[in-house]
Amino acid sequence: MATQARKWEFVWRRLLQTLPVIVFATFVVFALLKLVPGDIALTLAGDNATEQRIAEIRHLYGLDRPFLVQYGSWLWKAVHGDLSVSLLSGEPVLTSILRSLPNTLLIVAIALLLALLAGIPLGIGAASRPGSLLDRGLMTFASLGVAVPNFWLAMILVSMFALERNWFPTTGSVPLGENPYEALRHAVLPALALAAGGMAEVARQLRSSLAELLSSQQVRTLHAKGVRPAVILWKHGLKNVSVNLLTVIALLANRLLAATVVVEAVFAIPGMGSLIVHGAVHRDFPVVQGVVFTMVLIVIVINFTADALYRVVDPRVRS
């Protein structure tokens, strides 16, 4: 009972530690605007802007007020879901983000699933036979996985499976709610391009933590007592290592979320990546800020959840 209480106390403390990170993150997002050289109002107003328009922008963004006041009012609005409007289309940024986010999350979720489904068996296989062909092949594959540009892999997949053979559509995406079959068909190639590196990463991490455990004193004792290797692997090995998987999943989710930005461009998927790239190219700063803000919030939430779960699930963590 007491340990239970302590676990929740930990979660609360961790939540309190997360708050400054969130506040600082919002500060960084806001300060992005300050990196713009010259008068921001001129840039924001775009080419051929009238004096009146520039003055309007200056007032709209509160550029005539002190920096911290600007930040405060921006944060206040952001917390209430007002991420300002796009300079190009005039659409509220939150609306654009809510429209794009599901497309991105669908690909990331499928990629994560693929990476785990393939990576976990591979990692177990490699760890149970260190130095085998599978083990060495996996290590080679893992080093390829971190060095290959995802978007190049995406291009190869498109060329092979969408252009040469008409198995999958080349571009675009369909909302999941509208037509689940087509939505998944559109998501397969982008998810595969993302998952390849992730799968190698999962397998490599699992292999190294499992291999370390299998060579420990504890396991050697089990061997000495005559416990069958299969029992050791499944009962003792995986039970101990499964907690590490939480960390790997969180890490992977973060990485996939970033990598999808470029892969989306290959498939012309209207997701978060396309949104921020279009915003950056056309200097649509509210959109850029909105996307960075959303992405960093998602990452912080993922990290917090993984950390909290880790402490709650793992009986070894007490302090």
């Binding site: 990170v21 600082f24 993150a25 990196l35 540009p149 978007f151 291009m155 921020i276 960075v292």
Partner: protein, 289 residues
């Protein structure tokens, strides 16, 4: 007896001498990287054509004796663009990592050495910056600074800096408790001198490993930014920009994507292999692997 004294004198004050035996992978990687570096330095001498000379009568040509890797959609020689692109891609990787070192190392040193609330604030800042998806932040910073290769790579450097800062901070925390740091302080050495003479040299080895690995990351980041149109601008070539053009012609000439893609893959692979080899060589606990 004298040997013992000798041991004590040489003690831990000196950074461990780098004993680096190159394994096969690292040797190949090093040779490959040297070759790429040589090609990019001597690009104007070696490349058979100008990288921006168009020949609209001979576009998307198959590989031939005149054009070993064929021509692109504007009739430019792919091999020449690949060689000149190497210069742009390598230069931008080193620029980004240089920015990361210049920002990350001093911040990490200060945080680790000063401790207290300075460390607390800096560490929180590092945690926060590491929460940002790197390429997303790089795109945003590039958008703010203005589109272009140099701005893009400064952005990547800013995004990579916290990784180095965290590494240096952790190492500094260990080093600052060493006896020789106390001794130096007793002799009246200033903080700046202690940092420069005693702490910094001890952080060099992990930083070298990380820098090698970051070079691979920067190369991929350059490719991504240029692919998205936020990096190098036409008509100049970088490997990422070549992939962007190949993408536009994917339906008619799918083979265009392979030379730049393979160049990126091999170079990133070489940086990573070199970094891993260095890590093993420098980490005493991994000697018996």
């Amino acid at each position: 007896m004298s040997a013992v004294i000798n041991d004590i004198e040489q003690g831990e004050a000196r950074p461990r001498r780098l004993r680096w035996r190159l394994d096969a992978g690292a040797t190949i990687s090093l040779l490959f990287l040297l070759l790429v570096a040589l090609l990019s330095i001597a690009a104007p001498l070696i490349a058979p054509y100008s990288p921006i000379a168009q020949d609209l009568t001979n576009t998307l040509a198959e590989p031939s004796v005149a054009h070993w890797l064929g021509t692109d959609d504007l009739g430019r020689d792919v091999l020449s663009r690949l060689i000149h692109g190497a210069a742009a891609s390598l230069f931008s990787s080193f620029l980004a990592v240089g920015v990361a070192v210049a920002l990350g190392v001093p911040v990490g040193l200060l945080a680790g050495f000063l401790g207290g609330w300075t460390d607390e604030v800096i560490s929180r800042g590092i945690d926060t910056l590491l929460s940002f998806p790197a390429i997303v932040l790089a795109i945003a910073v590039t958008g703010a600074l203005g589109i272009g290769l140099v701005n893009g790579m400064i952005a990547v450097g800013i995004v990579f800096a916290p990784q180095l800062a965290r590494l240096v901070r952790a190492r500094t925390l260990v080093v600052r408790q060493e006896l020789y740091v106390d001794a130096a302080r007793c002799f009246g050495a200033s903080t700046a001198r202690i940092l420069w003479r005693h702490v910094l040299p001890n952080t060099v080895q992990p930083v070298i490993v990380q820098v090698t690995l970051l070079l691979a990351g920067a190369l991929l980041a350059e490719a991504s930014l240029s692919f998205l149109g936020l990096g190098i601008q036409p008509p100049h070539a970088s490997w990422g920009a070549m992939l962007a053009r190949a993408y536009q012609n994917m339906e008619f000439a799918p083979s265009q994507m392979y030379p730049p893609g393979l160049a990126i893959l091999c170079t990133a692979l070489a940086f990573n292999a070199l970094g891993e080899s260095l890590r093993v060589a420098l980490d005493p606990t991994m000697k018996h692997r």
